[in-house]
């Protein structure tokens, strides 16, 4: 048989490790300097989030009312003329203190935790739920697909910010009243321990899977008629195997890219909710809360808003550049 008589060269080609889609993409990503730097910034932020308690010079909630609105001398140029005379110059706070005399640097470092937790949890939830929902819908097709997509289209018409605001108001009021027992009590206890973050995760996670489900379905539709899926079906692979071994790995690329580009949106949503008093519970520091507190003092102590604002912008900037880099890496047609 012809198969038995392979030349040495053919053997070599067959035994060479295949360059997978992922490996190719990784190689392209490594060549993109801006994306790499952004990736490094994201890693650094994760590091800060984990070790915030070791890095922060002060506790985030300790108030030093004698040093309220303190400004370090090297940042005095930020002050407006009319407020310069009243400013308390205090160099023990590296980036100054807020209106209650809490260290801005420490609060900003701790704030990384909230923003990054939201980014991680919201994207995991929406990625998992969205991928599974969309894949099933696209793979099964027919009536089921129609029904599932009708639901998604319907939910898509919903104004989601409104839903999140309502959910958060509900959760917060519930947390104030307290629950008698059972699941709700466990949930509320955990939420209190996490400074109000758990319910925020749920509210944001609940509403963000829809776009992901649409994307996943579109991807699956384009892949499920391809030859390799046909081949898998021909050798008798089960539906579960086809979905998890063949389809999901192939559709994952664009989904991860979309998710990375959606992360700034999650971070904004958290910041917006905290800004409106519907996010994490004070004194847990969140950049959104810090910005809303800073707005009150904007005309006299702009530093109090500029510090968290800079942190928020740098974080979203890093995720955006990284997402762009990932997109170019996974879809080389876009980069050219």
């Amino acid at each position: 048989m012809a198969v038995a008589n392979l030349s040495a060269e053919d053997e070599e080609i067959l035994s060479r490790r295949q360059r997978s889609l992922w490996r190719d993409s990784l190689a392209r990503l490594m060549r993109n300097r801006l994306a790499l730097i952004s990736g490094a910034v994201v890693v650094l932020l994760v590091f800060v989030a984990i070790f915030a308690d070791k890095m922060a010079p002060y506790d985030y909630a300790t108030q030093d009312l004698d040093a309220n609105n303190a400004v370090p001398s090297y940042l005095m140029w930020l002050m407006p003329k009319h407020a310069e005379r009243y400013a308390k110059i205090d160099n023990s706070f590296l980036l100054g203190a807020d209106y209650l005399g809490r260290d801005l640097l420490s609060r900003t470092l701790y704030g990384t935790r909230v923003s990054l937790s939201i980014a991680v949890v919201a994207s995991l939830v929406s990625l998992t739920v969205g991928t599974i929902y969309g894949t099933i819908s696209g793979y099964v097709g027919g009536k089921v697909d129609n029904l599932m997509m009708r639901l998604v289209d319907f939910l898509y018409g919903f104004p989601f910010l409104i839903v999140v605001i309502l959910l958060q108001t509900y959760f917060k009021a519930l947390a104030r009243v307290g629950a008698e027992g059972g699941f709700a009590k466990v949930l509320l206890d955990w939420n209190a321990k996490m400074g109000g973050m758990l319910l925020l995760f749920i509210a944001i996670g609940l509403v963000n899977w829809i776009g992901m489900a649409r994307l996943a379905r579109g991807q699956v539709l384009s892949y499920k008629e391809k030859e390799f899926v046909e081949a898998a079906r021909a050798v008798g692979a089960s539906h579960t195997r086809i979905i998890f071994r063949h389809l999901i790995p192939n559709v994952m690329g664009p989904l991860i890219v979309a998710e990375t580009l959606a992360i700034p949106g999650y971070i904004f949503t958290e910041a917006f909710l905290s800004f409106s008093g519907l996010g994490v519970d004070p004194p847990t520091p969140s950049w959104g809360i810090m910005i809303s507190e800073g707005v009150q003092n904007l005309r006299t102590y702009p530093l109090q808003i500029l510090v968290p604002a800079a942190a928020l912008s740098i974080t979203t900037l890093a995720f955006n550049f990284l997402g762009d880099g990932l997109r170019d890496a996974f879809d080389p047609r876009m980069a050219e």
Partner: protein, 347 residues
Amino acid sequence: MGRYIIRRVFGFIPVLFAVALFTFILVRVIPGGPFDYAGEKALPPQVVANIEAKYHLDWPVTWQFVSYLFGDDVVEFLSAGKYQQPADGGSKGLIRGDFGPSLRYRGQSVTDIIKGTFPISFQLGLLAMIIGLSIGVPAGIIAALKQNSWLDYTATFIAVLGVSVPSMVLGPVLIWLFAVKLGWLPVATWGAKPPFILGLFPRDILSWKFWSHAIMPAIAMGTGMSASIARLTRASLLQVIREDYIRTARAKGLSERTVIAIHALKNSMIPVVTIMGPLFAAVVTGSLIIEQIFGINGMGRHFVQSVGNRDYPLLMGVTLVYTFLLLIANLMVDLTYAWLDPRIRYD
């Protein structure tokens, strides 16, 4: 086409109904009521009960919902007189254009509040969208036509920067720079008051007073929008100018200007139009924040506050107006789509 539009508009009804039902129930499940406090002081239960009875909050929720949608007379008719229509006629119901009374702003109807505040949010959003389109589209085109030049890199970099800096940050920075540090522009409030032309547009649109107030919030809102439009325009135009029909157009000897302006641009606008829907939603979100930061008395402020105040009718009214606008925006996106791409046919 006409039939398509009519069908879509009828399709709004179930969505609006579902949003109304969901909001109506959820906001009543939230613990705490609108009349628990008068200022800082808690009101005695008897007083609360009396006020609640005035607004029919003592009715079962189902009847309250029927009253909200169809009016008190329908409730009286359907419940066979068990729940009486008040002497002044009571609520006429949503289907007859009555959003009900505000529970927090006593003596004002929700319709009045929306009429007074919506035009301000509308003007702000419109200016932001004009800024977004008039900067975003040209910047994207230039970046695509001069691909990989320094112009392209600068534009792309600024665009990512613009996407990454939220209006929550940009607004205060603009205030700090132009109002506090330089003192060129006023810090807060909006420069136009009712009555508005056609109920929407400011009367003194040519005055410096209007623009000096409008310019910063509009830029704070429009920057992010123009950045994402620029990115999308660039990516889309780059794809289109590699198509065969562009090569054909060039081969026919058409000038580069004609090729780009007539053949490439229209097609490259299709993805841009698709994100106008989500962008419109972003305008709504943006207005909630910007109106708080700049102290603008628009509809966005009522949105967050009415939830906190448990001002049920006001929240319902604002929510339904937003939902309706969102649906209209999505419909307009689909129609523009069909105009740009003749292969898409709606019938």
